[in-house]
Symmetry: C2
Subunit: 245 residues, 2 copies
DNA sequence: CATGCTACTGTGGTCAGACCACAGGCACGC
DNA sequence: GCGTGCCTGTGGTCTGACCACAGTAGCATG
């Protein structure tokens, strides 16, 4: 059977909307399994290839996880891991010149400063402090001598992400993961532009400690400015044209 | 030919990475046409269905636009419209409970307050003011009596987006478009929870004017707090549990 | 009766081939 | 010179086939 004769929205979109509807109705929840591709195909009256195109989209967007074989863990399972989809989106948009790197950095500045400030404010009432342990573990790991710049940057990224996670805001966490992915390539290139990596990494480590310290001291204003300066300082060192806003 | 025997990453991913590489190398730029599906299939040694799965992903992510027929506008053309992909991602993640609505609202709060403040700061040096005309046109449109709540909310969303666009940050613009899409359904439901829509819409209109006024007065602090209060106030009215942070 | 192995079944992954609708370009006829 | 219709190439879709994989049920064996 060829293309639909009448109005016919694209077949794969039918599948996508069907899944979205099921999700909204609560008929499908994280952890549930989708019907098999062949079943979905028959149920919706579209070809299996169209079903697969829709599933591929859902997979890239971090909505489902697919695995072959049989048993309860096989098939397409609803998950909700926004980080992956966000990363793919940002990476490709940067590659396609849709997202200027400077805009990504500016957005990081806004988001991360805010996260640090909120974390500090949440620390105010003693006892209700957010959990910074994961972030501090990463700081310790970054102190280990002999790290290559690449390894260091990976830990650096993980540290910033750990702060976002500590804030408990999943949207911000996923967005930051995506932003970071989008400029990962540039960050690695930027290392080459740094004259004295040893000095720079030492400074970065110190700044990280300073941010955590300000948060734990419940000093929101300092946490914000230190975060801001930390990020803009790094990009000022690696890029010629860096946003200062 | 069936599934690959050896390690073989999934075929569609090969296509995706191929396009991404071409993009990064500059071999493919916005406006360019991708090779036809059949050509790509032959070139990369994968089936056409696999090529299509990859193209579908790129399409949903806002990287390409496809159209049938012949001529220079047919085929898959590189575009970079991040808004669409971001919207799809957010909408589906909310549907799948990956993104709590409260987190989206909190993120809006951060982003939009910051945008308003930056806009005000950019206004400081006379003459270099950002272009708020599109936003003001929307405000005028919102003054028209007889708007249904749905129409009003659409204009409201467009107004907030216009501010983001005025800031010139494409990442923030796209992200805000996505955030908005993610909670669109909730916003519409929320209207029902409002006792006096007439009074509420009048208040919203006034708050919008106030934000623009503060920006034009280059009063960043006021622009920030007014934006913050505007957003959190609206959600406080429509939701029971609204973030106040 | 307990245990280990094997064949089966259902799942996604992939490919090949076919047909359709659509839109531009070209050649022919007027 | 101009208009009309065919031709070709494009995405869009479907069908049918096969493969690799993993769990499971059933059989054979101790």
């Amino acid at each position: 059977m060829g293309a639909e004769t009448s109005d016919a929205p694209r077949a794969w979109r039918i599948v996508l909307e069907h899944v979205e509807t099921q999700l909204l109705e609560g008929a499908l929840r994280p952890g549930d399994r989708l019907p098999g591709e062949r079943a979905l195909s028959a149920e919706l009256g579209v070809g299996r290839s169209s079903v697969r195109e829709a599933l591929r989209v859902l997979e890239v967007l971090g909505l489902i996880r697919t695995s072959a074989g049989s048993g309860p863990t096989s098939g397409a399972i609803i998950i909700a891991t926004p980080g992956g989809g966000m990363s793919a989106l940002m990476r490709l948009q940067v590659a396609a010149s849709g997202f200027p790197v400077a805009d990504i950095v500016r957005t990081r500045l806004i988001l991360e400063s805010s996260v640090a400030g909120d974390l500090a404010e949440a620390t105010a009432p003693a006892g209700a402090a957010p959990d910074l342990a994961p972030a501090e573990l990463l700081l310790d790991a970054m102190d280990s001598p002999g790290l290559t710049p690449t390894e260091f940057l990976a830990l650096d990224a993980a540290f910033h992400l750990a702060l976002a996670e500590a804030s408990g805001n999943q949207v911000i966490t996923a967005t930051m993961a995506g932003l970071r992915s989008g400029i990962e390539g540039y960050a690695l290139e930027g290392v080459a532009a740094i004259a004295d990596w040893h000095a720079t990494s030492a400074r970065l480590r110190g700044e990280h400690r300073g941010i955590v310290e300000a948060i734990q001291r419940a000093d929101a204003a300092t946490a914000r400015t230190r975060t801001h300066d930390h990020i803009s300082g790094y990009y000022a060192e690696t890029f010629v044209d860096t946003p200062t806003a």
